[in-house]
């Protein structure tokens, strides 16, 4: 078979359109290498085919191009990743691609995981220690704070007591300064139970209110109480029992319209209707 016959046998068309068998293909390629005119004829048919195809176009969907480019972008990114790891030839020589791909990154991620685990344990321990430290500090501050609150309230209480005392004294002072106030000194009677006893009655000549200032009287027993009496024409009039309280300079007694003298006796607790003259401590004439 000469070359012209071969060219016109239909083998060119079979080969170009992909219908030739493998042995036909190999033979055709061998022939092409030997006969430039065969290549020329093949080229001519390819041109015909291409021109025909270009005249018969159908448009694929519009977004297909961007889809294809998105897909190949992903592939080319992966390829860069391989070549960055080392020369591609080297990788292919030494290992199947799968293992090269995974091994270094696996080692890196293992190291990373370990580092992260260790770091988190250390952080946890630090956190526990700090918690403990701050808890102790908190407890310490809390007790100190409680102590401060307590002493503050004590101080406030003292302050209040002092103010009350001050007010009491001021009150007493005002009473004593009052020009209408009649002062009746009551010393111990000559044969009294306690010669050192001494009290003073302040008697408002306008309102007839009676105040008593106890300078000195012996402390009564639990069941006894001192009682003040006003004496009018030799008859005793109850002027009230005396509530002895520390820090109180003057005690207000019952209102007494008229009296010649005042006296104090020691009576049973709550007072008596008539004075026990055996226990007469002090007396003073108006």
């Amino acid at each position: 078979m000469n070359i012209q016959e071969y060219i016109s046998s239909g083998i060119i068309e079979s080969y170009v359109l992909g219908l030739a068998t493998n042995s036909e293909k190999q033979e055709f390629e061998r022939m092409c290498a030997l006969h430039p005119e065969l290549v020329k004829a093949r080229n001519a048919f390819e041109m015909t085919l291409e021109e025909f195809a270009m005249m018969n176009q159908t448009k694929p969907s519009k977004n297909l191009k961007s889809k294809i480019f998105a897909a190949i972008d992903i592939e080319s990114d992966q390829e860069h990743f391989i070549t960055e790891g080392g020369s591609a030839d080297e990788l292919v020589m030494n290992d199947p691609p799968d293992t090269i791909f995974k091994r270094p990154s696996a080692v890196v991620s293992m190291g990373r995981a370990r580092f992260l685990a260790a770091a988190s344990v250390i952080l946890l321990l630090c956190s526990i220690a700090l918690n403990f430290y701050y808890f102790r500090k908190y407890m310490d501050y809390n007790t100190r704070y409680q102590a401060l609150v307590q002493s503050q309230s004590e101080l406030a209480g003292n302050n209040q007591a002092l103010q009350a005392k001050m007010a009491e004294y001021e009150n007493t002072l005002n009473l004593m300064k009052d020009p209408h106030m009649l002062v009746v000194k009551m010393p111990s009677i000559p044969k009294g139970p306690d010669l050192a006893s001494m009290t003073t009655v302040y008697w408002d000549s306008l309102s007839k209110d009676v105040y008593l200032s106890v300078s000195h009287l012996p402390d009564p027993s639990e069941t006894q109480q001192y009682q003040l009496w006003a004496l009018l024409d030799g008859k005793p009039i109850d002027a009230g029992v005396i509530e002895l309280r520390k820090g109180v300079a003057m005690v207000k007694m019952k209102n007494i319209p008229k009296a010649d003298a005042f006296a104090i006796t020691l009576e049973k607790k709550g007072g008596s209707p008539s004075p026990n003259l055996k226990q007469l401590y002090v007396m003073g004439k108006v």
């Binding site: 083998i11 068309e13 079979s14 025909f52 018969n56 159908t58």
Partner: protein
């Protein structure tokens, strides 16, 4: 060409703009379904991009190379299991109006390109080209299907191709 081999995006974009239309025609004529043809064409261009380094200009033109990739991908799709299943489902609903829609688009493709030129072939030639080129059967398979001697199949296909060549001009 060297830009293509180094996988330059612009060069590849140019390739797509130039050849997607003619390759889409052949793909859709083989798979007979516009939507499926889009998927196949995507695969075709990704394959072109992947294999561009293996293209050997001494064995033929770039378009010939791409056309064969497109034809092979289309025939692979025809033979894939998922496609065969979808065909079965379609044949069940063949009588409904819905399934007539793709048929209409197929007719549009059929009136251009090789399919139109094939109309001019004798029927005995046309059937063989359809089986060999559009269905991808080997000569042996065709000789069984058509109950013809292998030699006859070969001769008829060669003759049909030579005739087609004249029609393409």
């Amino acid at each position: 060409m060297s830009l293509l081999k180094s996988r330059d995006d612009k060069a590849f974009g140019y390739l797509y703009d130039n050849y997607s239309g003619s390759l889409f025609t052949i793909v859709s004529q083989i798979v007979n379904d516009m939507e499926l043809a889009n998927d196949v064409l995507q695969e075709v261009f990704i394959n072109i991009w992947r294999k561009i380094e293996s293209y050997d200009a001494s064995k033929g033109r770039l378009f010939t190379w791409m056309l064969n990739i497109a034809r092979n991908a289309s025939i692979d799709t025809l033979r894939s299991k998922s496609y065969q299943n979808s065909q079965k489902n379609q044949s069940l609903s063949d009588t409904t109006e819905f399934s007539s829609a793709p048929g209409k688009t197929n007719q549009d493709i059929d009136i251009i390109g090789f399919k139109k030129v094939m109309e001019r072939l004798k029927k005995e030639h046309r059937v063989l080209i359809d089986l060999a080129y559009f269905k991808g059967y080997t000569h042996e398979e065709i000789s069984e299907i058509e109950d013809l001697p292998l030699g006859t199949v070969k001769t008829r296909i060669r003759n049909a191709l030579l005739q087609l060549r004249e029609y393409l001009k």
